[in-house]
C-alpha cells in the first residue's frame, strides 16, 4: 500500500497541472476519487471486468490513472482539454480504457445495470464497477435502477458512491435529504459497505471482501471522501467544483503535496 501514497501524490500533481493548463472546472471532484480509482485499477479492473465513471466531470482523475496503467500515453494525457483532443472535459468512450461516455448525471448506473444483466444472461463471472457522485443520488434513474438490479439479483454490480458531501452549488445536506443513506439502500435490497475513500487498505480490503460475496444483492460502497482531498485550501470548499487554480495557487498546492 506504500506505493499508492507516492503514485497518488504524482496523480494529484498532474491533476493540478492539467487543470491549470486547461483552465477546467471540477478539480475538487477529481481529487476526491483519486485513491479509489488507483486501488480499483491496480487490483480489480482486469480481464473483462468493466469500470464506468458515471460522474464524468471528474474524468481528469480517470485519465491520469489510465495513464499510470498504460491505457493512454503522456502525450495524449497532456492534450487534455486542448482543441481536437480525444480528452474532452467529460469522460469519453473515444479514449482507450473508457467504456461509456458520461457528462450528464444519472446515466452510469442504468448502463452498468444493463451490462451486469448481460453478464448474468451469459453466465460470466465478470464484475461491473460504477462510480457515481453523491449528487447522482438526486437522480430518479439511480433508484429505478436499484429496484431493477435488486429484483434481478445482480450481485455482480458494484456501485461506489463518492460521498464527498458537496454537490454543484451547495453542500448535499442543504439540498435534499439523502440520509439515512445506508438504510435507504438496505431497504432497496442492496448489500451496503461503508469505507474511508482515502484509506488504501480500507478500499482494497472492502472491495476484496465484496467481490467474493454471492448474496444475490447488488453491492453499494459508500465511500466517505473529501472534495479537494490533498490540497488543504481546496478541501470541502464549494468553489473548487468550478474554479481552476491560477499560477500562484498551483505553486502553493504542489508544495502541499510534497
Amino acid at each position: 500500500m506504500e506505493k499508492y501514497k507516492k503514485i497518488s501524490k504524482d496523480i494529484r500533481k498532474k491533476i493540478l497541472e492539467l487543470s491549470y493548463a486547461s483552465k477546467s472546472s471540477h478539480i475538487g471532484s477529481s481529487l476526491s476519487i483519486v485513491d479509489i480509482l488507483l486501488v480499483l485499477y491496480d487490483n480489480f479492473i482486469y480481464k473483462k471486468n468493466i469500470f464506468i465513471l458515471s460522474k464524468g466531470h471528474a474524468c481528469l482523475a480517470l485519465y491520469c490513472v489510465l495513464n499510470k496503467f498504460g491505457y493512454i500515453n503522456t502525450k495524449t494525457l497532456d492534450s487534455f482539454g486542448k482543441n481536437n483532443s480525444k480528452l474532452m472535459l467529460h469522460a469519453s468512450h473515444k479514449v482507450p480504457g473508457v467504456v461509456f461516455s458520461s457528462g450528464s448525471l444519472g446515466h452510469g448506473i442504468p448502463l452498468a445495470t444493463g451490462v451486469a444483466l448481460a453478464q448474468k444472461i451469459n453466465k460470466t463471472n465478470n464484475k461491473i464497477y460504477v462510480l457515481i457522485s453523491d449528487g447522482e443520488l438526486n437522480e430518479g434513474t439511480t433508484w429505478e435502477s436499484l429496484l431493477f438490479a435488486s429484483f434481478h439479483k445482480l450481485d455482480n454490480l458494484i456501485i461506489i458512491i463518492d460521498y464527498n458531501k458537496i454537490q454543484s452549488i451547495d453542500y448535499s445536506k442543504n439540498i435534499l435529504k439523502l440520509e439515512p443513506l445506508s438504510r435507504k439502500f438496505i431497504s432497496f435490497g442492496c448489500d451496503v459497505t461503508k469505507i474511508d475513500g482515502h484509506n488504501f487498505f480500507n478500499i482494497y480490503n472492502s472491495l476484496k471482501k465484496l467481490i467474493n460475496k454471492t448474496n444475490k444483492k447488488p453491492k453499494i460502497v459508500i465511500a466517505n471522501t473529501i472534495k479537494g482531498k490533498g490540497i488543504k485550501f481546496m478541501e470541502n470548499k464549494i468553489i473548487w467544483h468550478y474554479k481552476s487554480p491560477n499560477f500562484e495557487e498551483l505553486t502553493r498546492a504542489k508544495k502541499m503535496i510534497k
Partner: protein, 297 residues
C-alpha cells in the same frame, strides 16, 4: 402491425439468441407469445423509461440486440437524453419500437398522440427511422432492422392491417418506393405524392376523393444520414406533396425541404401535416384526421 412485429421477432429469436425484448410494463396481449417462448430473452424494466434505455444500451454494449417496445411518447420524449447519449452516441444496436403512430390513440388525449417523434429522432445522427406504410412494409422494415442492428426507431401503427403492396417490397434507407402509378400520363407523373408510415392508408383514400389517377410513393426507411440522397429523388419531379401524421415542424416534409436547401433543385414541396390546433382535442382517428392540413382543394 404490432402483432407482425412480435411474429417476426419470434422467428428471428429462434435463430439469433442475442435478441432481447425489453418493455416498460406495456404490451398486454401483444408480447405474451414472445415471453412464453423466450422467457430468458424478455425483461420488464418496470415503468421507468429513462433507466430502461440505459439498461438497453448496457445490454447492447455486451453483444445483445435489444428491442425496446413501448408507446410512442414514452420511448421518445421521456428518455430522449438516454437515446441521444447512451444509444446514438455509442452507436449501439438498440431498436426502439414505438406503437401508436400519429393519432392511433386519438381518444386517449395529447399524452398519447405521437405527433412529434420524427422531430426528435431525426436529430440523432446515427438513428435509422423505420416507418412502414402497410403490413408488407412492416415485414420489410422489421427484417431489415433484425439483419442490420444499429440505433433505430421503428414506428408502428397500433392496429393497421392495411396491405397496399402485393408482395413484401425491397427497401433501402433513404429510398422511395413506388406504391401506385395508375398508368397516368407523363405530365401527372411529375406531380407526385409521398408518405411515410401508416398514414398511407388515409392518404390514398383522401387523394382518391379528389383525383382518380395519381402517383404515390412511400419512404419506409430514413434518417439524418440519408438526407443528402433525397436531392436525387426530388429533382425528378415538378412537385412532391408530402402527407404525414405528424406536425410539419420537424416532420418528413421539413426534412425533405432541408435536403434541397442551398441546392439548385426547383422541385416544389407541399406539406399535408397535422395542425397544432389538434392539441387538447380528442376523438377517434377519423375525427382527428380532420386536423390534417388539406393541400388538395
Amino acid at each position: 402491425m404490432r402483432n407482425i412485429f412480435i411474429e417476426e421477432l419470434i422467428k428471428a429469436t429462434t435463430k439469433k439468441k442475442n435478441i432481447i425484448l425489453l418493455v416498460n410494463d406495456l404490451g398486454f396481449g401483444v408480447v405474451d407469445n414472445f415471453r412464453k417462448k423466450f422467457p430468458k430473452n424478455f425483461f420488464n424494466a418496470g415503468i421507468a423509461e429513462q433507466s430502461m434505455i440505459g439498461y438497453a444500451a448496457g445490454l447492447a454494449y455486451s453483444g445483445k440486440h435489444v428491442f425496446v417496445y413501448s408507446i410512442n411518447n414514452f420511448v421518445t420524449f421521456r428518455c430522449l437524453e438516454q437515446l441521444r447519449n447512451d444509444v446514438d452516441y455509442h452507436k449501439l444496436p438498440v431498436t426502439i419500437v414505438a406503437v401508436g403512430s400519429g393519432l392511433d390513440y386519438g381518444a386517449l388525449g395529447y399524452s398519447h398522440h405521437g405527433l412529434q417523434d420524427y422531430a426528435l429522432i431525426r436529430t440523432l445522427p446515427n438513428f435509422l427511422i423505420a416507418s412502414p406504410g402497410d403490413t408488407q412494409e412492416a415485414r420489410s422494415c422489421i427484417r431489415y432492422l433484425i439483419n442490420n442492428p444499429q440505433p433505430s426507431y421503428l414506428r408502428l401503427s397500433k392496429d393497421s392491417k392495411y396491405k397496399i403492396h402485393k408482395s413484401i417490397p425491397r427497401i433501402y434507407p433513404g429510398k422511395w418506393i413506388k406504391v401506385l402509378d395508375n398508368n397516368i400520363e407523363l405530365q401527372k407523373q411529375k406531380n407526385i405524392f409521398l408518405t411515410t408510415g401508416s398514414v398511407i392508408e388515409y392518404a390514398k383514400s383522401h387523394i382518391l376523393k379528389k383525383i382518380s389517377k395519381f402517383s404515390l410513393y412511400s419512404l419506409p426507411l430514413w434518417g439524418m444520414k440519408y438526407k443528402k440522397y433525397q436531392y436525387n429523388f426530388l429533382k425528378k419531379y415538378k412537385s412532391v406533396t408530402v402527407i404525414e401524421d405528424h406536425f410539419q415542424d420537424g416532420g418528413v416534409s421539413s426534412w425533405l425541404s432541408e435536403s434541397i436547401t442551398n441546392s439548385n433543385c426547383k422541385t416544389r414541396i407541399f406539406s399535408a401535416s397535422i395542425s397544432a390546433k389538434i392539441v387538447g382535442k380528442v376523438g377517434n382517428y377519423k375525427f382527428l384526421m380532420k386536423y390534417l392540413k388539406k393541400v388538395i382543394k
